[in-house]
Symmetry: C2
Subunit: 202 residues, 2 copies
Amino acid sequence: MPKVVDHDVRREQVAEATWRVIGRDGLDGATLREIAREAGFSTGVIQHYFLDRDDLLAFAAGQIAERAGQGIAQAQSELAPGLVRLRAMMLILVPRDLESARVSALLSFWARSAIDPVHNAIHNQAYDALRRTVRIEVVAAQEAGQIDDRRDPADIADSLIAFGDGLCVRSTLEPTAFPEDRREQLIEGMLIALAPSRRTDS
Amino acid sequence: MPKVVDHDVRREQVAEATWRVIGRDGLDGATLREIAREAGFSTGVIQHYFLDRDDLLAFAAGQIAERAGQGIAQAQSELAPGLVRLRAMMLILVPRDLESARVSALLSFWARSAIDPVHNAIHNQAYDALRRTVRIEVVAAQEAGQIDDRRDPADIADSLIAFGDGLCVRSTLEPTAFPEDRREQLIEGMLIALAPSRRTDS
């Protein structure tokens, strides 16, 4: 069914163009006209794939979680459970190339989710799943002795996710103070801080 | 000079009203008319105190840092240096009453700072100062043996600030999963994770 595939690909291309426009001009600037121009399509083509601007923005917001989820699924299939996967997941949440359109749109969608129930529902569904997934790896890391097992795995998972979100904020707003190698160093430092205390070695 | 005081108080009242409107309706919804209505003034009064909407929004953004700075200065004058102050600072960045208008406007101002040089400058000036202040307390906590001194204090300070920012995001968007007592518990867990490893005790 090549037509169905084309349809999906086209929608994803439009979502990516939407991220870029939002990253550049904010959510206000993300008009159908501007998104169409960025995607290299006519406004009519965009309207063929989306009901209206709200429908497109909701899809573009959902695709942020979708892409992160794809990266996480790949990490799960390729890497051993526990700390190694956890590190990979953090680097998906705080990607190396923060210039990537996916991250630059994030802050605008968060602000929108704070006041818009539709976007809040999209956001919370994604983060519910993320928090469960990260918790599973924390448990695996605790069982492997890689992370302190005296703390609630849900607390550790949610703290890691909050830390990753905060790093996205800091890196977007203060890119000079939070360059790529420093972000990785801070993530590594956080994972080390969560390691079992040396007392358990003695 | 009671007139000068009144002027400042009035401007702060308008800033608080601006936070409330942004928290409810987003930055788009924060028109001069709506802010005036929220503050209980006429639009003319608002225009007496601010050049235009941009001037008001910039002031309201700066006041977020100003208020946090006042809380931090109070913590510095009342509490012992090191871990106790650091904990107090985290609870100023992630305040108990997250419903407070100050935090609900934060996500919108962050999104704006990502695309608006004026807001980015206001934001970065505030965070530069914050990062320096927190680093000083991390050093004090390290010297007191309360925090692992093998790590760069700037890295620990910036990680704590990113964690606090992320907790503000999580708590605003997922208030059910991040209630007040859990936020404090996660902050405490983070400070414990940064403690010196037990090896130094043996």
